[in-house]
């Protein structure tokens, strides 16, 4: 079995799988990071992705255009995120509670619409869906190892690009400086005339767009169907990944890749012929890895915090 896995890694096919699994998580995590930086843990990532997955495939099937599908998904997702922001900032609702409410709502509304319009309570597989295209890079795809870069969905590139852009926005632009200041000390931000509410809403809109792209990828990028609750915890994994990445864009990328690898390996093991381990165990691998990594990360962080600090003043006898 291990030889089989090793082979997969060697011929690089595992990377295609990893990137495919990572992209939606990464997008949601970067989106969640924007909310996190303004001081809100966005539990509603899951719900935002789910509505996008639904609406993007519906519009995609109607128009036969993947781009319109993504746009519709993003619109739905932004709507969900703004709704959440409205609850939190306008009505001062608790962000965890309202996040869960949003998720429940998203799950229910998609199933409801599925039932009403398509007469199905489980899944929707329309004809005429135009899948989000795969980017094949002409020359590279024939060179060994470098061919790794070719043959991924457009969205995979967007996901990695979002990490880079996020880092630039956070650390290089005035908007990023304002955004993180709002999250860290809102009084300070207000005192220099920053409109904190505006920035918070913008952060939620960005989050909505990113979750929207991620959600659209689930229904029209990897498959061409919608299944109820098809986000399957991706939004929550994204939250774990944010925490794993110390709330830093490249940390999030690293955390996302760890999860992606664990997930890919689980899938490969599952498909290995003649396996006697119950599949439920194997499917649990990525989640167990995430929990383990989170625990290790937390312990390390605590040690860093509690460890002896460098002494500033000299010795008494000096």
């Amino acid at each position: 079995m291990f030889r089989f896995l090793f082979q997969q890694v060697l011929n690089l096919s595992i990377f295609t799988m990893v990137f495919k699994l990572v992209a939606p998580v990464l997008l949601a995590a970067i989106g969640g990071l924007f909310c996190g930086k303004v001081g809100v843990m966005n539990i509603g990532l899951e719900g935002a992705m789910l509505v996008s997955a639904f609406f993007s495939i519906v519009v995609n099937a109607m128009t036969g255009n993947w781009f319109f599908g993504i746009l519709a998904g993003c619109a739905a997702s932004v709507f969900i995120c703004l709704m959440l922001a409205f609850f939190i900032f306008k009505y001062k609702a608790h962000h965890i509670v309202s996040g869960f409410a949003i998720n429940t709502f998203a799950s229910a509304i998609t199933v409801f619409l599925l039932q009403v319009f398509f007469g199905s309570s489980g899944s929707y597989q329309p004809a005429g869906v135009q899948m989000i295209p795969v980017v094949n890079i002409p020359v590279l795809e024939n060179i060994p190892v470098v061919s790794l870069l070719s043959g991924h969905s457009f969205i995979v590139w967007i996901a990695f690009l979002s990490v880079i852009l996020c880092s630039i926005v956070f650390y290089k632009t005035p908007f990023g400086a304002h955004l993180m200041a709002v999250g860290e000390n809102v009084q300070a931000a207000r005192s220099v005339g920053i409109n904190d509410l505006k920035i918070k809403y913008v952060a939620f809109i960005i989050c909505g767009i990113l979750c929207g792209i991620g959600g659209a990828f689930l229904s029209t990028g990897t498959t061409s169907m919608f299944v109820r609750d098809m986000t399957a915890g991706n939004g929550f994994i994204a939250l774990a990944v944010i925490s794993l990445g110390n709330s830093k864009p490249y940390g999030v990328l690293r955390g996302g890749l760890i999860f992606g690898f664990a997930n890919a390996i689980a899938i490969l093991i599952e498909t290995y012929p003649g396996l006697t381990i119950p599949s439920q165990f194997i499917q649990a691998i990525p989640y167990i890895v995430t929990i383990l990594m989170l625990s290790i990360h937390t312990i390390q962080n605590n040690r860093k915090m509690m460890g002896p600090v460098k002494k500033i003043s000299g010795s008494v006898n000096g």
């Binding site: 630039i168 290089k172 632009t173 005035p174 400086a177 304002h178 993180m180 200041a181 860290e184 000390n185 009084q187 300070a188 931000a189 207000r190 005192s191 220099v192 005339g193 920053i194 509690m306 460890g307 002896p308 600090v309 002494k311 003043s313 000299g314 008494v316 000096g318």
Partner: protein, 517 residues
């Protein structure tokens, strides 16, 4: 900026009434000239902060007229105020801890190069301002690593960076050491010379006399008088501020301190990060004696107290109370003894802000027979007792059931002092008992502590305020870096300078001490 306009700021007949009915300003007039350091004084609750918040656009005025350079303005937000050349250094620092000094200074007003921040030209400008006014900072240092004084410099630099010509400082010296205060004043004078108008909110009369050109006194939301500093005296300002003369201080009666009440022996304490914060400390306090520990904050004061009251465990050493070893006793055991404890943070440890005054009074004595019967509290008795304490300690409150959080800092502190002293303690541990409290309350609390001492209570007084230490203590311990570098009898020969030397660079004094022993 033309010089023929005499008043840079003019506020006429200002009223501010909050929606809940609190009247903060009722007829304030205030004028400040160009290049002037103008002190705005008054007790807590006199309306100084509110007035400045209205001026800076943080609060909306109810009525009145504000003119900046002769032009009537009505700022809706700090942004408007900043654009009109105003800047404010708040009492609580408005800084983002993880950002660097430069990032904090430029926040909200970043220089741009295309879409990105131009950090280099920001830094250049910061260095230039910093040199001009003697405000030394390290632009790339993250703010959380800075001392309080340095943080304040960052705040002032930010205001200057934003091109303010009118600068409001809200009690800037409350957090500074004497040396840092001197430095700040030097910078302020440079700014005033350069044509900046500086408004200094304070209640320390000494500062008013030291630095200001003019002073406006507020009381109960009204302007009492505006004076030229050179034509007045501290007594007059005090009288205008509190509306009466200060009561004569209660003197320390001569008494032979005999009976040993409290003793700390070879005490070593690690803080929660494992850093040795209290080093081999030993001292004792007799009945009827005040032992003052002078020191800059952060030199082990809080760890010492935490280890005494059972919040931290000392790594070695012993504590004796009336000859009994109470080292490592839990806080609740400690509280059962006749020991009073005034914590340094009245909002965090000293009181429960959402609970009523009465509840706060009995918070440490729920267990006593006096206040409960079986499972239930004797509310009638509690309220009676509370009313009595409110009267005795001159606490200004809307009755004994008003939440503590609704009162001013001085009154909250009085509630805590009343609670701790009504126990008739044999030992009183008072940490920064008058920090951030108005003059009348300081006077009152000081007199109460002296009264207790004269009645035979042993007092451990920990304070960063040298005048407080010198005014109350019988003996003074100088604390530096977790060590008592010297213990000295408090007589006429002690000067603020001498103590200052010990607590700022105790190490140099170390050898002398060893020589004496």
């Amino acid at each position: 900026m033309s010089t023929d306009i005499q008043n840079v700021i003019e506020m006429k007949d200002m009223y501010k009434i909050y929606p809940n009915g609190t009247v903060a300003n009722s007829g304030v007039n205030f004028c400040a000239k160009r290049g002037e350091i103008h002190a705005l004084v008054g007790e807590n609750g006199a309306g100084k902060s509110t007035l400045m918040k209205v001026l800076f656009g943080l609060e909306e005025k109810t009525k009145g007229e504000i003119r900046i350079l002769g032009k009537e303005v009505n700022f809706k937000s700090p942004k408007d105020a900043i654009q009109n050349g105003m800047g404010m250094v708040h009492q609580e620092f408005m800084l983002v801890p993880s950002y660097t000094v430069a990032e904090n200074i430029a926040l909200g007003n970043e220089k741009k190069k295309k879409l990105l921040c131009d950090r280099r030209s920001e830094k250049e400008q910061i260095n230039q301002i910093s040199k001009q006014f003697g405000l030394a900072v390290e632009p790339d240092e993250p703010v959380y690593r800075l001392s309080v004084g340095a943080k304040q410099r960052v705040e002032i630099l930010r205001v200057l960076y934003n091109k303010a010509r009118i600068i409001i400082l809200d009690e800037p010296t409350a957090v500074l050491t004497p040396q840092e205060t001197d430095e700040l004043f030097r910078s302020l004078r440079l700014m005033a010379k350069d044509g900046y108008t500086i408004i200094l909110i304070t209640h320390k009369i000494k500062e008013v006399m030291d630095i200001s050109d003019a002073v406006t006194v507020l009381r109960n939301g009204k302007t009492i008088k505006t004076l030229k500093t050179s034509e007045t005296c501290p007594e007059e300002i005090t009288r205008l501020m509190i509306g009466r003369q200060l009561k004569p201080k209660i003197g320390r009666t001569d008494r032979k301190a005999e009976e040993l009440v409290f003793k700390v022996e070879n005490f070593n304490v690690l803080d929660r990060r494992g850093v040795l914060k209290v080093k081999n400390m030993s001292f004792d306090i007799k009945a009827g004696e005040v032992f003052g520990i002078a020191g800059v904050e952060g030199n082990g004061q809080s760890e010492l107290v935490d280890a005494i009251i059972g919040f931290l465990k000392p790594s070695s050493g012993k504590v004796f109370y009336k000859g009994k070893d109470i080292t490592g006793a839990s806080t609740s055991d400690f509280r059962k003894e006749a020991i009073g404890y005034i914590p340094d943070d009245r909002n965090l440890r000293g009181s429960s802000l959402n609970q009523s005054i009465a509840e706060n009074f009995v918070i440490c004595s729920h267990g006593s027979e006096k206040f409960h019967k079986g499972l239930f509290l004797k509310w009638k008795d509690i309220r009676e007792e509370s009313k009595h304490l409110i009267r005795e300690y001159e606490i200004r409150a809307d009755g004994e059931m008003a939440p503590v959080g609704s009162m001013s800092g001085g009154n909250i502190q009085k509630v805590i002092v009343a609670r701790e002293l009504s126990k008739k303690p044999d030992l009183l541990i008072a940490c920064q008992p008058t920090r951030g409290v108005d003059i009348a309350s300081i006077e009152y609390i000081h007199n109460k502590i002296i009264e207790q001492r004269n009645e035979g209570t042993a007092v451990l007084l920990i304070s960063a305020e040298l005048s407080e230490i010198m005014g109350l203590s019988d003996r003074i311990g100088m604390l530096y870096d977790g060590e008592l570098v010297a213990i000295r009898k408090n007589d006429e020969t002690v000067t603020e300078n001498e103590i200052g030397k010990y607590i700022l660079n105790g190490r140099q004094k170390q050898k002398e001490r060893e020589g004496q022993e």
